[in-house]
Symmetry: C3
Subunit: 359 residues, 3 copies
């Protein structure tokens, strides 16, 4: 249940992410999933290994039936009041793989918040019926607050943050790390690789979270390619500095491509524009990949994108073997399955499943 029972809300709230980590689990076991930064390298490695094992088991009908037997006695609530079909469906599939039925809240207009209830009361009541809360909200600190509330209720229920406000989207970061782990599996892993981030680095919570997680790896080199107004935020750069991660900032993509092991593309998130039309002034084509850019990429580099995309990756790139973004999506389902299995302590059963029956 985490150690959140042992601390007052105001005291917890004011801690730094690093200081919060010990409160999110018990003895290194994950209970609440709130921040990308809460994951240690050991946890990242374990999750990746478990995801790969689950995927292997899922190849056979017998394996799928085994996986479905693991959590069929539990129930998940998907509380998604911020639009996100992709993350929603991915979690939906992850719970189904583990046999967990789920209930959904997707539209605040159908909710009793219309009747004047606080979001906190809503989530707390809804949690009475479920064993796991997966939540996505436009309210920045709601997942954190709910984790504290639900740890301090009669019946502690784990929270998975599936995206909160502009800030955090930890399971996206997990799937990105997992995609890098798998892609570099036979090339010495993530250590020592050069990852180039491109696009709206200021407002893409995805890239912010991933950049932080990469500080768990040795000799990683990061380059941030963005128009000056959308460059990576100072606070993230400070964190990288604090962890001794080497990085560069630039607004020029082309010359960097030959050095990249992974190019992480993002779209301009104009839904966060403070001044209407602000983003429209940016020449997106300078932060895009088309057939021409592909020629400059190494043969074994990979192209990632959290999707949805607009024009920053041309459709013809999809057919290139280095295009990893569709598989990246599917990795999301497997790593989320691994995460949920871990929260409920199913790693042992999964490891013990007879490898002989695996394809």
């Amino acid at each position: 249940m985490g150690n959140l029972r042992s601390i007052e809300w105001a005291a917890f709230r004011d801690l730094s992410p690093e200081e919060k980590t010990p409160y999110l689990g018990d003895n290194g076991r994950i209970f609440h999933t709130l921040y990308a930064q809460q994951f240690s390298r050991a946890q990242l490695d374990n999750l990746g290994r478990l995801a790969t094992r689950i995927r292997g088991i899922a190849k056979s009908k017998e394996g799928m039936l085994f996986l479905k037997s693991l959590l069929t006695h539990k129930r998940a609530m998907l509380y998604f009041t911020q639009p996100s079909t992709r993350t929603f469906l991915s979690f939906c599939a992850a719970t189904e793989i583990l046999g967990m039925p789920h209930g959904e809240v997707r539209d605040r207009a159908t909710s009793s918040e219309l009747k004047g209830e606080s979001a906190e009361d809503s989530v707390r009541t809804f949690s009475s019926y479920f064993d796991l809360i997966i939540m996505r909200s436009e309210l920045g600190g709601l997942a954190e607050r709910m984790a504290w509330v639900l740890s301090n209720a009669d019946r502690p229920v784990p929270v998975v943050n599936a995206g909160s406000g502009k800030d955090q989207h930890p399971t996206q970061a997990l799937l990105d790390v997992y995609t890098l782990q798998r892609s570099f599996e036979r090339r010495g892993g993530i250590d020592g690789k050069h990852i180039v981030f491109v696009g709206d680095l200021l407002r893409g919570r995805t890239v912010r979270s991933l950049a932080c997680l990469l500080s768990n790896y040795e000799d990683v080199e990061l380059t941030f390619v963005a128009p000056p107004s959308l460059q990576m935020a100072r606070e993230i750069l400070d964190q990288l500095d604090a962890h001794g991660v080497s990085f560069r900032l630039t607004d020029e993509l082309l010359s960097l491509l030959p050095e990249a092991d992974a190019v992480y593309m993002t779209r301009v998130q104009d839904e966060w524009d403070e001044v209407s039309g602000e983003s429209a002034a940016i020449d997106v084509s300078r932060y895009s990949l088309g057939r021409g850019e592909l020629d400059r990429l190494k043969q074994d580099a990979i192209i990632m994108h959290p999707l949805p995309r607009r024009n920053e990756i041309a459709i013809e790139v999809d057919a290139d073997p280095r295009a990893m973004y569709w598989r990246q999506m599917r990795n999301g389902m497997w790593i989320r399955t691994a995460l949920i299995a871990t929260v409920f302590g199913c790693e042992g059963e999964i490891e013990a499943y007879d490898a002989g029956t695996m394809v």
Copy 2:
């Protein structure tokens, strides 16, 4: 399938609730759940006992798997065209506990009613695909009408009224009775207890239904505390009179608190205001519980609320051991599970489940 096949719609419609009861089941077995008043004390006792047994069985994974095997061959439709996340999720969980998959209709805008179809035709067609209809509608008599229609179709399907218009919300009344049963289990049960209802008693269908059900118990004393314009309706008071239930009306809460065994708080339901702003003129603080009021309450009294709340219960009350409203919510899931199990005749199997395996 109930005896509704034996009576014309117009004749059934014009009966009193008491006269309707025999048509809603067969020989005391519940088929349709339409009104709080249809439940006899024996049925209330049986449902409460079954709910507690189900909760016990659900504590182990083996028990959960047993419960899920009971109705995995049936399908439920949740037709919720009136907003209610809480009741929706509770029924969702109840069907999942019994292994029933479900289909959902939650938004009339996605429905074919847009194409000019009557609500009756819609529910009738949708019912072709399901074995149980759980419905919530802003149309007062729709659940009753559908029960008649579906009893007279080729393939009778039971209806559970999950709230209809201003009038009835019978499973809320069941969960309230169940909460009282459990809370007074070691104090002689509900008989002889003093229940104080507070707030908007005119428009809260919850309290109307519960007040009626309490006439099944001996020597119960009811007090209705409300601003004069929101006091309990004459027709309910007449029913209580007819059943010889003792009650008082007042607009003053404080002096009553020391006598109460249960205080049932409600919020002002201004969504039913006929004149805009009508409710805003009421001084809600006089019908609220805060730390001050708690001091006047007996040590073993309980505080209930159907939720959602606004300000009528202060947040700091949540930590008081007498605050029962969160557990009341969870009781709703168990009693609804018991109700559905009863409609499908699973009581025997559940009673027979080896108590030795229970925690």
Copy 3:
């Protein structure tokens, strides 16, 4: 996976429906379901037989559990961005009968298409998490396009078109054929029967698809009864001519009723009106069935309607034994179950299920 990998999109798109058929499956096995015309008589007969067998098996709890074991290891996505509760719930039930959990996309407003993603990218990403895509869209060719895209992805996923634009609704046509098969089971089948179509034949994709499918049967006679402005489209009539199907056009219903084996009623689809109020000028009563019309119908004729209805069938007709439309709905669930079972190759297992355990 179909043979769609072997052809370019532009080349495929420009084929006639008949020419497209071989690309939709492998050696006569159905992979994608896009058009009514893709089904051969053998396939229609097999699907009908399988649906009836499934319905028989589903009568017992043991049978239902057997059916649920068939596809419990697969997952379906219901992507319904065009309103249709009926078809949605029917597919929902069909997947549940086969034990398949599903994810839902029903409202484009909650989708990431808001962020500027193409519908094609959306469906492709969503498909990463699922094994079957059931889609309904107001975009005419989207299902076809997605079938091509998903056949050409790393992981081919079958598509079932659950209605696209004005054009195609193949599973509605399947359920209509299945209803005719069952109704005429003891009267020599569909061959030689006279089917009268009534109402908005121009814009009802249901009747367009069904008329095409009936060209698979011998000596069928079709009559199209519609106001001149809503008469069956020339292109469909040309197809019937090409297949040597005998048909008549008229705007007069009454005199035809005594000859009909089946009367297929439809509603005026004024949601497709190009000029507002266009349909309101039509005297719908001339294309309606009431008690008076019933007297003219043969005793063993059947009345069908795809529902939803407005006034074109009077409520009192519902009680007539020839009214087949409610059962027609339920047939939709069974034939869709049979279709999905066929796509995943479960026919053998279903045929082999011990008939001795069937009711």
